[in-house]
């Protein structure tokens, strides 16, 4: 029975969580509206606020009012850090495609998260609200947590204050106007750019504040930023990008919907929010209160920067290099026992190959058709799940599983593409993220997908020939047959993808990336082309996912976690998007560097070792530098270096003649 009392409790719970969302989403939304920045790092500023507050409160233990001092001081410090971050990292990117902000702030996520871990360690922190606010309170016969009342009240106060600041002060009015229609504000002769630092810092203050109030209610732990950022995006999308009102309504709404579903429709917990997100984006992409014109304000967007044509290396040289690389990869297993253990080929290199394939699949749509998929892990995960489930429930033959994985990934890509590709730019990115999160939450719900534990199996009767288990078919000692199978599949996929890009279909994709309008007015059904490209890409990602299950002996929800989508984007850009081979090299660089950092970190004593072990943060830092200074990726480095340091020699005229190569690089 639903009694009035419990319903009221649920509503209040929902409101208190919702208030936290409001504070987060308000900042995210204004930052997006004014600066076009999708700030993935917002969740980390939120976590940073909570940790700083813990630190301040601990330093002031004994001082009465430590909590209150922390509640004010920590957000201000985070605001300063946020302002500096904007100055140093985001500022150089204005005028580029908003994708670069996503990428950059994703790098910042890694840096800040690891920074927190280095300073505060991995143990969760207890951060209790002061005695004054703890315990229940009874109002009009209804007993409820005093602290939750406090959260609701103070959240409402800050939201109202922000609203007043946005509507009543001169700066606020400019910012609000800017977040709804930047062009208009500029037309009035106001230099909106000057306010960016302020806006970003202010958003960070709100986020930190949210982190503190929620941290004191639950706990302050690593991953709190990762856990909140995606729901916060849902709120922003629901309310409408750039709309403060939307953030308030969306935040409270999502908070209440979440708590109510948890209590009354537990089956839908975790799923409902993403269903809402996807639904809204499909029906009304601009959200409840968003400005519909956002959809087509594409005019001022910069291009995606692709990794040129290999610049100073000519086609033949590159072909030799590629052949040499494949040759070396083929020889790697021969070193087992001589120079290294079987771990290197059978685990590390294999993992690199799988991720190289995954990165290749993303580049196929992102680098060529300009489709930024933030949820590409969906296809990787679906491929992995289908492969394992086929092996467990139908037939243990690995090939059949792999085929099923590719087929299902293709089908899902068709479905997602069918629904979403007509929605442009940022909205498309968000929809793919929503679908991926939906799948992530769905697989934990069913026994058939192994719930939150996942499914574990070997692939028996390998290769359908009855010669043993995948991973157990030895060619010689520890040299495994499957190593060569994976190598052949990955190299083969690359060759196929490259051939597609040299064929009419691929040439149209490149035209779409350059100018979709123009391609459409040459008579191409660009939406259809993009859908098909998305399917090919989904199939390749599914293949990568299926292959990945060999090494992990199965599949779990982590195969669908959004951070993986982020990592594959990092690899793609790191290597050089729009080249097919660049992202594959990027995967190698990313995972290789990770391995090196981990190895050195373990063997180096003291703080340095600890810092090195935080490989994600270091990679994040490198990535941030790349986004800012080498957006065309590793493959453009030779050219960039020559341009900067090379004495005379080539000169600038080359770029023109290189263009033929650039279309499809080897």
């Amino acid at each position: 029975m639903v009694t009035g009392g419990t319903l009221l409790t649920q509503l209040l719970n929902g409101l208190s969580v919702g208030m936290v969302y409001v504070l987060l989403a308000a900042g995210l939304s204004i930052i997006f509206g004014v600066m076009d920045v999708i700030n993935f790092a917002h969740g980390e500023f939120y976590a940073l606020g909570a940790y700083l507050a813990v630190g301040i409160a601990a330093a002031l233990s004994g001082v009465t009012g430590g909590f209150w001092i922390a509640l004010v001081a920590a957000p201000l410090i985070v605001g300063v850090i946020g302002g500096l971050t904007e100055r140093v990292t985001i500022r150089p990117l204005y005028g580029r495609n908003p994708l670069y902000h996503i990428l950059l702030t994703f790098g910042l996520v890694l840096v800040i998260a690891d920074g927190i871990e280095i300073i505060w360690g991995t143990q969760p922190k207890n951060f209790a609200p002061p005695a004054l606010l703890s315990g229940p309170i009874t109002i009009a016969g209804f007993q409820y947590s005093l602290y939750n009342y406090f959260v609701i009240a103070v959240g409402a106060l800050i939201a109202a204050g922000t609203w007043l600041a946005l509507t009543e002060t001169r700066v606020g009015i400019i910012i609000r106007g800017g977040s709804q229609d930047r062009g208009m504000v500029r037309a009035l002769g106001i230099d909106i750019d000057r306010y960016y630092t302020l806006v970003f810092a202010f958003g960070c203050v709100l986020a930190a504040f949210a982190g503190i109030v929620l941290g004191a209610k639950q706990e302050v732990a690593l991953g709190m930023g990762n856990a909140i950022i995606i729901p916060a995006f849902v709120v922003v999308v629901l309310g409408g990008l750039g709309s403060f009102r939307g953030a308030v309504v969306g935040g409270l709404g999502i908070g209440i919907v979440q708590t109510l579903t948890q209590t009354y429709v537990p089956a839908l917990t975790g799923v409902i929010v993403y269903l809402l997100m996807v639904g809204i984006l499909l029906v009304k992409p601009q959200g409840l209160f968003g400005n519909p014109e956002w959809q087509n304000h594409g005019g001022e967007e910069g291009d995606l920067l692709t990794g040129g044509g290999g610049g100073i290396l000519d086609t033949t040289t590159r072909r030799y290099l590629a052949a040499a690389l494949v040759g070396v990869l083929a020889l790697v297993p021969l070193g087992i026992g001589v120079t290294y253990s079987s771990y290197i080929p059978n685990s590390l290199v294999l993992n690199v190959l799988v991720w190289a394939l995954f990165a290749l699949s993303l580049d196929f749509v992102m680098g060529y058709a300009g489709l930024v998929s933030l949820g590409h892990v969906l296809f990787y995960g679906v491929g992995a799940y289908a492969t394992v489930m086929m092996a467990m429930y139908v037939t243990p033959v690995f090939w059949v599983g792999l085929l099923a994985g590719v087929a299902l990934a293709l089908a899902v890509a068709w479905f997602v593409g069918y629904l979403s590709i007509r929605v442009s730019g940022v909205y498309f990115a968000m929809i793919t993220l929503g679908f991926a999160q939906l799948a992530y939450n769905l697989v934990t719900k069913f026994d058939i997908t192994g719930g939150s534990d996942g499914l574990y199996t070997g692939y028996d009767a390998t290769y359908g020939l009855g010669i043993g288990e995948v991973g157990q078919v030895s060619l010689l000692g520890d040299i495994q047959l499957f190593y060569y199978v994976v190598l052949a599949l990955v190299v083969g996929s690359y060759l196929v993808a490259r051939q597609i890009m040299r064929a009419p279909f691929g040439s149209v994709l490149q035209a779409i990336r350059e100018s979709e309008d123009r391609a459409e007015f040459l008579g191409y059904d660009t939406v259809e082309y993009k859908r098909r490209a998305f399917m090919v890409s989904g199939g390749l990602a599914g293949l990568a996912g299926g292959l990945a299950t060999i090494n992990s002996f199965g599949v779990g929800p982590s195969f669908l976690f959004w951070l993986k989508s982020g990592e594959v984007i990092v690899m793609t850009l790191l290597g050089g998007m729009g080249t097919l081979y660049g992202p594959m090299l990027g995967a190698g660089a990313f995972l290789g560097l990770k391995e090196i950092l981990l190895t050195f970190g373990e063997s180096t004593p003291g703080l340095l070792g600890e810092v090195l072990s935080q490989w994600q943060g270091i990679l994040g830092l490198i990535f941030v530098v790349f986004v800012i200074y080498v957006p065309e990726g590793l493959v453009s480095l030779p050219e960039t270096l020559q341009a900067r340091f090379g004495a005379g020699g080539g000169g600038g005229g080359e770029s023109a003649t290189d263009a033929t190569d650039a279309e499809v690089s080897d």
Binding site: R502, F521, G523, Y524
Partner: protein, 252 residues
């Protein structure tokens, strides 16, 4: 017979009526210029005819078929080609590849899935030959391998005309092809248009009436979304209402 007609074609942006019940009837082979001051609705009219924008009301009829509801790429396939007021070429690709893509468009619908996906794009001889011919025609033969974004501005405008030409259109809509050009370039571009698009029906947007006096068969004058007058250059030039519209529109 009219090849392209519009019936009460209307396009509204909220309250603003950018194109207001426009009726056009363009004969096959005609050179029609659409002139009017800035903001008159010329580009919007083109966008509605080509399908870049959905008409609010009215119809577009091409070769007797009502194409109002068709997406723009379908209109292109039927033979309506266009250029853009702001240069719109594939900047990262070579000039030849730009035109080749245009030439590939129609034949690609007949290609098998296999050759679409896997056959080298340069091994479709008809397409490549057609592209090369068009590139010569617009005077860019020497720049075939130059990246479009590094071409001189005037050459980019020529390339844009080449893109339209290579799709083999029946009707060509050109939106201020000489925008931003100096006197000499303007003249050579107008000569080019007159030359390479001689067989097509042409609709050309210009805000400068003097430029189109000699080449047009007929001129339609647009102001505030409505047709002020359609007639031969002489008729239009001597029309008082046209002069009023032009002077009133703030255009000298």
């Amino acid at each position: 017979m009219a090849i392209l007609e519009t019936h009460d074609l209307t396009k509204r942006f909220d309250e603003l009526v950018a194109v207001d019940r426009v009726n056009l009837s363009v004969e096959a082979g005609e050179f029609r210029s659409v002139i009017g001051p800035n903001g008159a609705g010329k580009t919007t009219l083109f966008n509605t005819i080509t399908g870049a924008l959905r008409a609010s009301e009215g119809e577009v009829v091409f070769e007797g078929e009502d194409v109002t509801a068709l997406p723009s790429y379908e209109r292109v396939r039927r033979g309506i080609g266009r250029s853009f007021q702001i240069t719109n070429v594939f900047g990262g690709l070579t000039a030849l590849e730009n035109v080749r893509l245009a030439a590939q468009s129609i034949p690609s619908r007949e290609m098998s899935v296999g050759s679409q996906l896997f056959r080298d794009k340069n091994r479709f001889d008809d397409v490549t030959a057609h592209a090369q011919r068009v590139l010569e025609d617009v005077g860019l033969g020497e720049h075939a391998e130059t990246k479009a974004s590094t071409l001189a501005y005037g050459d980019q405008r020529r390339l844009e005309i080449g893109l339209v030409l290579a799709t083999d259109p029946e009707v060509v809509l050109l939106d201020e092809p000489t925008a931003g050009m100096g006197v000499e370039e303007t003249e050579s571009t107008m000569a080019l248009v007159d030359d390479v698009l001689a067989e097509q029906t042409l609709l050309l947007i210009e805000h400068d009436i003097d430029l189109v006096m000699d080449v047009s068969d007929k001129i339609t004058v647009l102001n505030r979304g409505s047709v002020v007058r359609t007639g031969t250059p002489e008729e239009v030039a001597s029309d008082e209402e046209v002069q009023a519209a032009y002077l009133g529109g703030g255009h000298a």
